[in-house]
């Protein structure tokens, strides 16, 4: 297994394999799998900020929702081209991230966390106020998405949507791996580990973090645009605090600082949510609450020992 993981293309092959298994053997789960792929892009973009940059944020859904609304408005008023929608959605997410980053990145710790919440809430309230554009509480709908690459249009079983989401997920994963493996990404990890020492080494902290935040906004915007195109509706909850908090829980479940951890955490959380909330919308909170509580109380080394104890 280890030798396999060392092959450069292994992670992409693994995701492709899992995707093919779902596609051929579990066709009823395709909508859920599409949702996981979309959210995984969002959680990976959060990982750039939280896991690599070391900035705990609870306002990340502002970037996701901005991308979603922009893609929806573009499809409604201008062109239904899906790839253009992704690009414009990503660009809008990056713009909001850069503008808000200029303000919030001056602060650290709890102050930064609270300011990201404030930015998220302000954007959500503005979206709710301009109901002529965003549809307010009813959500933005009535737009269509053209054929993907001019080949296929979304079908009722969600096959095309699933392939489309998985494809975008793979491309985003590749881009983020290249980004975080570059000198820029390593500098961001360095800032996370020791801000003072990186400054002493001559790294300019603020511009680096702002760029990182902008890139994160780009990917979050793409995830939002993707969710808008697949679901054909954008609601105010895409901008909400709950989405930010859930994304953070997904990220930490899988392990912050690792893009594969972000994907695994998203898959785990979303699947549990899906299964448990089918029974009762409140019961799944018992499951996820117990998972979080036990995950903290039982240290990771002991998990490792438990795993090793098995023959």
């Amino acid at each position: 297994m280890n030798a396999f993981m060392r092959i450069k293309a292994a992670p992409y092959l693994l995701i492709g394999l899992v995707g093919a298994t779902i596609y051929f053997f579990f066709p009823a789960q395709l909508p859920l799998a599409s949702r996981i792929a979309t959210l995984a892009i969002f959680v990976m973009s959060l990982d750039l900020v939280v896991g690599y940059g070391g900035l705990a944020t609870l306002g990340h859904s502002a970037l996701f929702g901005t991308g979603a609304y922009t893609a929806g408005l573009l499809a409604l008023h201008s062109t239904p081209n899906p790839l253009l929608g992704l690009l414009v959605g990503g660009a809008s997410g990056a713009t909001v991230a850069a503008l808000s980053g200029l303000f919030v990145l001056r602060y650290q710790g709890l102050t930064f966390l609270m300011l990201t919440i404030a930015v998220g809430q302000i954007i959500q309230n503005i979206a709710s106020k301009f109901r002529a554009w965003t549809g307010g509480d009813d959500g933005l709908s009535g737009f269509t998405t053209a054929k993907i690459l001019g080949l296929a249009t979304f079908d009722l079983q969600g096959r095309v949507a699933f392939l489309y989401c998985t494809g975008v997920l793979l491309i985003c994963l590749w881009m983020m791996r290249r980004l975080m493996g570059s000198a820029f990404g390593l500098a961001c990890i360095g800032i996370h580990q020791n801000r003072l020492r990186m400054a002493a080494l001559g790294t300019e902290i603020q511009p680096k973090l702002l760029t990182l935040y902008g890139f994160s906004g780009w990917f979050a915007g793409i995830a939002g645009a993707l969710s808008a195109q697949v679901n054909q509706i954008v609601g105010l909850d895409t901008l909400g605090f709950e989405l930010s908090a859930e994304a953070l829980v997904m990220l930490v479940l899988g392990g912050a600082g690792s893009l594969f951890g972000a994907i695994a955490g998203t898959a785990l959380f979303t699947t549990i949510h899906h299964v448990a909330s089918n029974v009762d919308p409140y019961h799944w909170l018992f499951v996820i609450g117990a998972m979080l509580v036990c995950g903290v109380l039982i240290p990771r080394e002991r998990w490792g020992a438990l795993m090793r104890a098995r023959p």
Partner: protein, 288 residues
């Protein structure tokens, strides 16, 4: 003029509720350095217990409220002594995750025990009737909230500054090992402080039941409001929390009266500006 007076009265009452709930969080976050995102759960527990004691058990309002506050405090002590104590040395992210998980468990339990509907606390007649103050008549419930807020503020400042327990608490926070070596029962100090914060949150939950309706999602829904008050006021500063709660409570009430279609935009706008102006909080106790 009447409108302005109404905004001020409702705003101050709302601010007092926010203050009473958040003062315990301010102490745990600022002095004990423990990120307790489950704090809203104690406010909900207080409200639920009061509702149960008064409605189902038929206790009079004052006794039911007092009983609920005591029970919430005991629950706080028990949780602190059993689990939270192990988390003080863990990194912040672990504390955040644990307490979010704990909030989820409270939400699910509240639904399991009492169902998803809003719990009401029936007010006795002496709280429902308006009181004539000479200048104008006010609902007695508002007056009680304001009085309770002022009392909580005065008593907590007096205890922290002058009582033996306050001295123990400050010594324990400054240097736990040295305090322990001097014979201060540090574990009890932590547990009692946490329990007192939980009991106050319970009081806030009962008094604020009209403004912040008691439902299972209470701990998550109103967590942000309370965190904002603590961050803007300055962690660990009781007076700062009071100031922040009054300012933010009045702003939120005013925007509900005057510009309701903007939602809570102004609340967060003012919060962002205040935090940008003073990142450590309005009245930071001088620690970093």
């Amino acid at each position: 003029m009447t409108l302005l007076a109404n905004i001020l009265i409702d705003g101050i009452a709302y601010g007092m509720v926010l203050f009473i709930i958040s003062v315990g969080l301010s102490v745990t976050l600022g002095l004990m350095r423990f990120v307790n995102l489950a704090h809203g759960a104690f406010a909900m527990t207080g409200g639920y217990l009061a509702s149960w004691l008064i409605r189902a058990q038929g206790w009079p309002f004052a006794f039911g409220a007092a009983g609920a506050i005591v029970l919430t405090g005991l629950l706080g002590v028990a949780i602190e002594a059993l689990v939270l104590r192990r988390l003080y040395r863990m990194p912040e992210l672990q504390q955040v995750l644990f307490t979010i998980g704990l909030s989820f468990l409270f939400v699910a339990s509240a639904n399991l025990v009492a169902g998803p509907e809003v719990q009401l606390i029936p007010l006795p007649s002496w709280l429902r009737d308006p009181i004539d103050l000479g200048i104008r008549t006010l609902p007695a419930q508002r007056l009680l909230v304001v009085l309770a807020g002022l009392l909580v503020m005065m008593i907590s400042v007096l205890i922290m500054k002058y009582s033996r327990f306050g001295i123990w608490l400050r010594a324990t926070v400054d240097n736990t090992q040295a305090a322990s070596a001097l014979g201060i029962p540090v574990e009890w100090v932590y547990a009692l402080t946490f329990g007192a914060g939980a009991a106050l949150a319970g009081l806030g939950g009962i008094l604020g039941a009209e403004l912040l309706p008691l439902e299972p999602y209470y701990p998550i829904k109103y967590l942000v409001l309370v965190l904002v008050v603590v961050a803007v006021g300055g962690m660990g500063s009781v007076a700062g929390s009071m100031l922040a709660a009054l300012v933010l409570g009045t702003i939120d009430t005013a925007s509900k009266y005057l510009a309701s279609d903007w939602g809570s935009l102004f609340y967060f706008l003012v919060m962002a500006l205040l935090l940008a102006w003073r990142p450590q909080g309005l009245l930071s106790p001088g620690r970093t």
